[in-house]
């Protein structure tokens, strides 16, 4: 332990109390990002403590990476510097919840599952069925910008985040938005925190709009020999008056992966995916309602499947629903368990280009002899997992070539592409943030305003931020 490490830890201890600071290398491993381990980890108990820690770090030119339950620290580029892990899990309270107003204010460290339990007591929920759900915190979910299959009906956090309080890289406490469902006072700075990986500020409070929990839900599953069938289902549903809560298309590799051993370990229980033909594409949709509404959905979906040439139509009731839905939600963690060197590529294209991009992914994977799995949603967002059988140089070269090819296809289709997860040692050679965009100069200026001394998660974000 160096002298510098000791002095950082002792100064942090002055702010939060010694029991909330650790510089024990054995404990710090858990805060490691891509092999980099901080000198200390601190668990502040208040917003004021966070301010003080940031001010101290700014004065000492230390770099802080904020974190919650650390389920998504592997996202983003490795930090260029990393001195202090700022763990917000002690800030885990519900600040305000008024079910009749559909508003909720929470501290960032609150686990989403605990929150879901409280909301369920009022027959409400947050449509954040995000990956790593068993660990995920509210703050980490917003900062990582992950979304859920429910996006089809409810949008992303962007659509129901009402306001955020945060501490900037200068240790300044600021906020934007409010705790009412409609509000246009001031700039929507809170939207900038979504997916920012903690590079603009440390979130200290999050205000959400909540939603009435749907009544009975059902999952509809169907299969097709080719991507055409399931894509045609998507298109027909989009043109129909149906409003499913989720709509996902799975490649044959995905069907197999989601029905596998690792999948069952992460999200147990029997699932509709188990019953689907393994070598076929699958279409899964969730719908909700009561009585006549469910009957209508069922008959329309069967008719649409028939017209689209999809077969093996099955409807699963509430009992099976959590598991089936959960496997889709946990696509990323399941994929990460399914290969020693899983590389997840996230793509988005306009919906009519889904066929082209899925073909592009398949060709890129086949040309490089890589096992692959893809899950697309009805809005044009695709998660593609490249699943090499080993984590070695040959695999790296194959993945690099495949991802280059996929990037090219995506660029041609006017889409967006990033690599949220891949082996640490490959991050320097894969374009994990995709191509430079014309507006990156502006986002670098934003970073300078929020964090002029580059204290917060330096090097983690797009554009070298």
């Amino acid at each position: 332990m160096t002298l510098a490490t000791i002095s950082v830890a002792s100064r942090l201890a002055e702010i939060t109390g010694a029991s909330n600071v650790t510089s024990d290398p054995a404990q710090l491993v858990a805060y490691g990002i891509d092999g980099k381990v901080p000198a200390a980890a601190v668990k502040p108990g208040s917003r004021d403590e966070i301010s003080e820690i940031v001010k101290f770090a700014a004065a000492e030119h230390l770099a802080i990476v904020p974190c919650g339950a650390r389920s998504k620290l592997a996202m983003g580029a490795p930090p260029s510097r990393y001195d202090v892990a700022l763990d917000v899990t002690r800030l885990d309270h519900i600040v305000a919840y008024d079910p009749s107003d559909l508003t909720l204010s929470v501290e960032p460290g609150i686990p989403l599952q605990r929150l879901a339990g409280v909301l369920a007591g009022h027959r409400q929920f947050l449509p954040l069925a995000v990956p790593f759900l068993s660990r995920a915190t509210a703050g980490g979910t917003v900062a990582a910008g992950v979304h859920s299959p429910l996006r089809q009906a409810y949008g992303t956090a962007r659509d129901f985040l009402l306001g955020v309080e945060f501490v900037t890289g200068e240790g300044v406490q600021a906020k934007s938005g409010g705790l009412v469902v409609k509000n246009v006072a001031g700039y929507d700075l809170h939207k900038l925190t979504i997916g920012s990986l903690g590079t603009l500020g440390i979130i200290t409070k999050i205000n959400f709009r909540t939603f009435p929990a749907p009544a009975s839900t059902r999952v509809f599953a169907a299969s097709s020999d080719s991507a055409d069938g399931v894509l045609d289902m998507r298109r027909r549903i989009a043109q129909s008056p149906l409003r499913p809560l989720t709509a996902n298309m799975l490649s044959p590799g995905s069907v197999e992966m989601l029905a596998s051993g690792p999948a069952a370990r992460i999200e147990p229980g029997p699932t509709p995916v188990d019953g689907l033909p393994k070598s076929q594409w699958a279409f899964l949709a969730t719908f909700a309602g009561a009585g006549a509404v469910l009957v209508r959905y069922e008959s329309e979906l069967r008719r649409i499947a028939d017209e689209a040439g999809c077969g093996s139509c099955t409807i699963y009731g509430d009992d099976e629903k959590p598991a089936s839905f959960g496997r889709l939600r946990e696509f990323v963690p399941i994929a990460l368990e399914s290969s020693p060197a899983t590389t997840i590529i996230k793509l988005s294209v306009v919906r009519s280009k889904l066929k082209d991009i899925l073909e592009g992914i398949e060709h890129a994977a086949r040309a490089n002899e890589l096992r692959w799995a893809a899950m697309a949603d009805g809005l044009g967002v695709i998660y593609a997992a490249l699943l090499p059988s080993a984590r070695d140089e040959q695999a790296r070269v194959r993945v690099a070539k495949a991802s280059e090819r996929i990037n090219g296809a995506c660029a041609q289709l006017g889409g967006n592409v990033t690599i949220p997860f891949c082996p640490s040692e490959w991050k320097s050679t894969l374009k994990i943030w995709g191509p430079e965009r014309g507006d990156f100069e502006q986002i670098r200026k934003l970073k300078k305003v929020f964090d002029p001394a580059d204290v917060l998660a330096p090097g983690r974000f797009a554009g070298g931020i």
């Binding site: 406490q173 509000n183 305003v449 797009a462």
Partner: protein, 481 residues
Amino acid sequence: MNSRLLHDLKTLLGSESVLHRPEELMLYEYDGSVEKGRPDCVVFPRSTAEVAGIVELARKHQVPLVGRGAGTGLSGGAIARHGGIITSFARMNCVLEIDADNQIARVQPGVVNSDLSAAVAHLGLHFAPDPSSQKACTIGGNVSENSGGPHTLAYGVTTNHVLGLEVVLPTGEVLHVGNSALDSTGYDLTGVFVGSEGTFGLVTEITVKLTRLPEDVKTLLAIFDTVDDATESVAEITARGITPAACEMLDGWTIRAVEDYIHAGFPLDCAAILLIDVDGLREVTEAEAAEVADVCRVHQAREVRVARDARERDLLWKGRKNAFGAAGRVSPSYYTQDGVIPRTKLPATLRRIGEIGRKYNLQIGNVFHAGDGNLHPIILFDERNEQQFRDTVAAADEIIAFCIQAGGSITGEHGVGMEKDRLMPLLFSETDLNLMQRVRGIFNPDNLLNPGKIFPNAKGCGEIYVRPARNRNGADAVRTP
């Protein structure tokens, strides 16, 4: 004004695209409010390149620049508070692309809100944000103000429907943020540009989401003898897990003013009505309409009517959307406020508004988006009566102060503009406002674009009190939210 600048503008755009004579400029002194500020000239570009040229000239001559759509705004956002050039987007009004398959449209900023919905109706689509001024207001203006409307309760406000923007920054740079595909990489610049009230850049192209029209819509009119019964019904509709497409409330005074004007069939002797839309599959609307009607009856509704056809539905909505015009018929002037409260505070807030009206001896009508707690109290006054004018401002301030105290906001959809800049410190700390202004500085470093808006104590701004928004001869029925 600077004759050199005028000459340069005429050279750039042609003299038919530059207005500068005082009698021409008068029309551009105000918007839907009567905040006033006379521009030095008004220009009408036809392309992004021309907008960039205008920006360059404004910079060269260091003259303020203000973007303007239809001028229906209610907070002075499109007024040249410190003079300078108003850039009207009236001639950039083309729908550039409709992509039905992907439910996307690309439009110029001057496209009128309801024109876009009309242009895609045959495809079973619409543009969901629906301010009551939708027959006049432009999508560029909606983007600037992050406009709402009655149906944003279920469908969201403008920001939820914007995918990407082309913007000319005051630095002259043409910037593209977002795109047609979702989740563009980097911070959500589109998210902060929408609602920046024309202080970040001049929007020259907008990519929006189009929403499928519902299979069925049912409009219910519930009539109550007390305001509390109406507001409690709203709370219970939510508690039963129903999110209506719209849930509007009018109080007794407003109902009588509207009925006299529109003849929508509202009863004259009731205390409040709720106008509720449920939409979706036929099976959904049937179930939800029955449940909403049940809730209203449980809460002592005197009568619940369901519009039998589109004609009846349109008439009921015409009554709602013309409430402000109706106020204009019965009073020389009126001031429309835009406050937000948590909806559970509706009964207390309405009682407080009643007390404030009695205290100042002012008639205050109430029309609001009850579902999301967005109030629009209408204070009637006679602008020739100086004392009443001052009382009106004081009453409006008390209402907004109560909204803030109740945990709400100073504006739900009209914007801050020059109407409420002085109220911003009631919601935000100096630090918050400072950070926001530094963000503005990234895009608009010299504050040449729309100066004197949103933030208090803007440089060179001498006004202590803003003037309330008043109608002009009751003629602005479609300008109101």
